[in-house]
Amino acid sequence: MDAINNLFPNLSAALDSLLRRFLPGTVVDIVMMLVSIVTILLLLPVVFLIMTYLERKIVARIQDRWGPNRAGPWGILQPFADMIKMFTKEDIVPAKADKIIHFLAPVIVAALPFIAFTVIPFGRGMIGRDLNIGILFIVAVTSPAAIGILMAGWGSNNKYSLLGGMRAVAQLVSYEVPMGLSILVIVMLAGSLSMQKIVEAQSGPGNLGIGWFIFAIPVGPIAFFTYFFSAVAETNRAPFDIPEGESEIVAGYHTEYTGMKFGLFQMGEYVSVFGQSCIVTTLFFGGWQGPLLPPYVWFFLKAFAVVFVFMWLRGTLPRLRVDELMGFAWKFMVPLSLANIFLTGILIRLVQIIS
């Protein structure tokens, strides 16, 4: 059982010892780093394809229709059909547009969620690098996405995409504050920023999930509420998708993007949805901890459960108006998460006094 549990750390250790026989020390470290980077970077597009398929099927089933079932059995090959379409669509760049910025924007928006995956713990030994500023590194790396979106809006030389870009950034920016504040609650409960330590801090008795931070009544659920809805708003999804709302400003900041560049925006969005689901799992649902199954299986089960909730929201909730959306962030979420931080502070002190 133990062999299956840490299957992948054993594999990487075996590869490491194999390489050490031929290559000098530092080169082996570099090679091992490259191996783990490439596996993460290849894992994510596969997850992206699975999620596009899942999203179409789930939203379809919610609306009582079948969703894709033509391409392959039950529409399994639909993501590949989309991919081929993306590759063969002509890439139109508007006249007088700023070519370099127009090209750089999708690259940045697509690349940032990948970098955040260096600190996400998939299993017991399975993490890119356990930095001791783990969760802060994720918050820091996802915040420049606003710059990418502004570049997209500006580079397309189109009034509507610039307006859509500025709206998207105003929303992104407003929801980053409650997100940071709800992370503070978890950091106080866990006592460290490193993601593996946050996961280990949630290992309750018998690994049955009693120790998960979402069950840290009353503080956990409030922090989960503020974090989850900020994450939904941060990835421009479901009730908060004003910027690319079809009924709003044409298609928001990616109006002037066609072909593969538009595909990059989609990949960036879906990879950041998966990234946010992994973070929610690690912070609130005890990461890779679980009674029977090996850790990485638990992790992906929980992550895809959260992804399902993201898609479920998309299928059911109507879109919020802009002023409601902004008011909700500044007038409700920020004060609530600040109060939640002090509630945690007082409760931790009481627990310390009692014990």
Binding site: N132, I133, A140, I147, L150
Partner: protein, 163 residues
Amino acid sequence: MDIPLLVFLALAVVTVIGALGTVLMRNIVHSALFLIVSFVGVAGIYVLLEADFLFAIQILIYVGAVATLILFGVMLTRGVRGEQPQLNNQFLPAAIMAILLFVVVLVPVILNSIWPSSTQPAPTATTALLGQELMGTYALPFEVAGVLLLIALVGAIIVAREH
């Protein structure tokens, strides 16, 4: 030529190119983007100086918040004319003279003076230590920073709001 020196040179080049781009670019948006490149270069320098908390803060505050604010400022004041403003004002020669003088004084001081240095190992997890210092010895500046931010917020709202 060990690796940290190479990494330092690479980061220094990125920072200086970003800074030069910010100052010399004709289009104000391009110079804002070069500013972001320079901020990322400085964040790398913090990593070399083993200040990991500051690395995350530099990216979170400068690249995430201040750069977005500057880009918004640029877009709000781009002006309908949108013509390319003549880049430099008439103080160009005087400014170059002043900076050359400044460099002539500064660089010898840097090169010739012997800086005290110690070989103590630096702490790896700086965040917890910073927390104790902020709450302990630097408690008063911490509160003053709060007041400063409040004044900046209120002042900026009064100045920027349409009347």
